[in-house]
Symmetry: C2
Subunit: 335 residues, 2 copies
């Protein structure tokens, strides 16, 4: 049953032609008598011939495969980015082969080795949380395989990077709250070692400064594990004399938890207190009241990163660029 696949040789034998003639006829190259060309095409169709990509790759020295390494596919953000990648790759005749690092550096290394082994023409990567070592990526580049970082990039690697401006998104969110008249805006911040969390925090701080609002350190809650200590933190926030009148949370999940506890404590959202999240998770639409949030441009990140990677694959002299995309404010009823 194995190896039922038709090859050029099979076609050549049946047609009493040479392999190279058949090859040329199929690829529409050089001068071929229209007669034989027709015959070849007919037989190829009849026998359901499909060119062997593997063999072609070996000769051409390219595989038309783009490797994608990302932390986890079961996430709206990355799934959307991947869709964007597939769209561009498809239109340019590339295939996507992707691997999950599961946020582990060792797995990431395995993924990359695998992609190098397959001789992917280029690699798109969003690094895992505990990736700090640049050496691995430099080695890949030395092999002549271009790498483009998307979403999460590594500082100390010279490469094309497509990221999202978290600072700007946070700024938009807070600016919106200020425009609505809220003045005492608290922030549920993420872990201090997470760069996206820090950027959002800075966007929050800069928006306050810009509009000459005082910064109250007690209004910033750094949360490692908000799901579990939310109640405590929120109570603490509302036991101060300078109670906030709005909350900007580092992500939708935290924002939703806030809404829950606030209602438990008897506050009305958004009348007594407004809440804004970040990510535009599907859940943000459904929660009541529907959550104002920031939509990440994940699809666009995927498209752009892939476009830039293909540019580098097809012209090695393409210079590295760093693109930063912005998110978009989605206004709903929680603010």
């Amino acid at each position: 049953m194995l190896n039922k696949q038709v090859t050029l040789k099979d076609l050549a034998r049946k047609l009493r032609l040479s392999v190279s003639t058949v090859s040329r006829a199929l690829r529409n190259v050089q001068d071929i008598s229209p007669e034989t060309k027709k015959q070849v095409l007919a037989l190829a169709e009849e026998l359901n011939y499909e060119p062997n990509f593997i063999a072609k790759s070996l000769v051409n020295k390219n595989t038309k495969v783009i490797g994608v390494v990302l932390p986890v596919i079961a996430s709206r953000y990355f799934a959307n980015a991947l869709s964007g990648m597939m769209e561009v790759a498809d239109s340019k005749g590339y295939h996507i082969m992707f691997c999950q690092s599961d946020e582990s550096f060792e797995k990431e290394e395995l993924c990359i080795k695998k992609l190098v082994s397959i001789r992917a023409d280029g690699i798109l990567i969003s690094v895992s949380k505990d990736t700090t070592n640049a050496e691995l990526f430099l080695k890949v580049q030395q092999k002549g395989i271009p790498i483009v970082f998307f979403d999460r990039a590594l500082e100390n690697v010279a490469a094309t990077k497509v990221t999202v401006n978290q600072h700007h998104g946070a700024y938009l969110a807070v600016e919106h709250l200020i425009a609505r008249g809220y003045k005492r805006i608290a922030h549920i911040a993420g872990p201090k070692h997470l760069s996206i969390a820090v950027e959002r925090l800075n966007g929050y701080l800069d928006a306050l400064s810009k509009f000459n609002l005082p910064i109250n350190e007690d209004h910033i809650l750094y949360c490692e594990d908000f799901e579990n200590d939310a109640q405590e933190k929120i109570e603490q926030l509302f036991n101060m004399e300078d109670k906030p009148d709005a909350i900007f949370a580092v992500n939708d999940a935290s924002a939703i938890i806030c809404i829950r506890y606030l209602e438990k404590l008897g506050y009305k959202v958004p009348k007594d207190i407004a809440v804004v999240g970040y990510n535009n998770d599907p859940t943000s639409e459904v929660v009541s009241p529907a959550l104002t949030t920031i939509q990440q441009p994940s699809y666009e990140v995927g498209k752009l990163a892939t476009q830039l990677l293909i540019d580098e694959i097809e012209d090695e002299l393409t210079p590295f660029v760093e693109k930063v995309l912005a998110g978009e404010l989605i206004i709903r009823s929680s603010s």
Copy 2:
């Protein structure tokens, strides 16, 4: 810059050995003097040698690539299935290459051609909504490439299939409502041409029969576009004399819409009326009251389908099987 990749030949030349000796040393095969083996390994490490999978594939007649064709990746269900696939594939040394059909038969055909061209060792597919023609799949099978259908299978193709028992999930949901004492259970049904919708409907009907509850045709609303005509349909449902005391919806989105309108009409969920959905979407946890629903075994479907496919790849005599997995009832506060 291109083709910086180290080959066996490079190693052999530097070591003044033959290519085959180097190959054998690297693969730990046959008897090799420990001396030369050490040398080879050392140099390979130093030069960062990675075997060329492409070349290996050409010789071995297998690529260790599993092709996956699915309607859309940006869906919790398929993303989870894909995660399951990757786990099994990884552990068996296979790579996943996937394509989206976007629910279009033409795109699906392109995906398959592509995978055949790449000489994938096997294909996992969840067919698009408008796929009815089996010919394409038969052709692939004739080429000796095994196909396993997951989630959505094609009736008239003999192949291994891993699907989900929608009937049973619906039965569980309705049984649960009955156990809670609800007796007049309505059903928001999906389009009649969608097999999963029909199966869920049948599960609903069978549960009612099983517990000797009367079937009221007016309690079944067939919805093509529930998002837009929900209000009308629900009002119609509650204007009858035989008002329902519970609703089983064909999916979570519909269930959530129901909850919204019911509350607008002044009904309390679940006191006045219970609601159960289907899918365990992330949204179902967040909506208030949290939705009782059915968890699809998507991850398990992915794992099992991949396992069975690999069995067929590695032993062509493996007989086709059809596996049907069951969902799980998740009880929350809406019932």
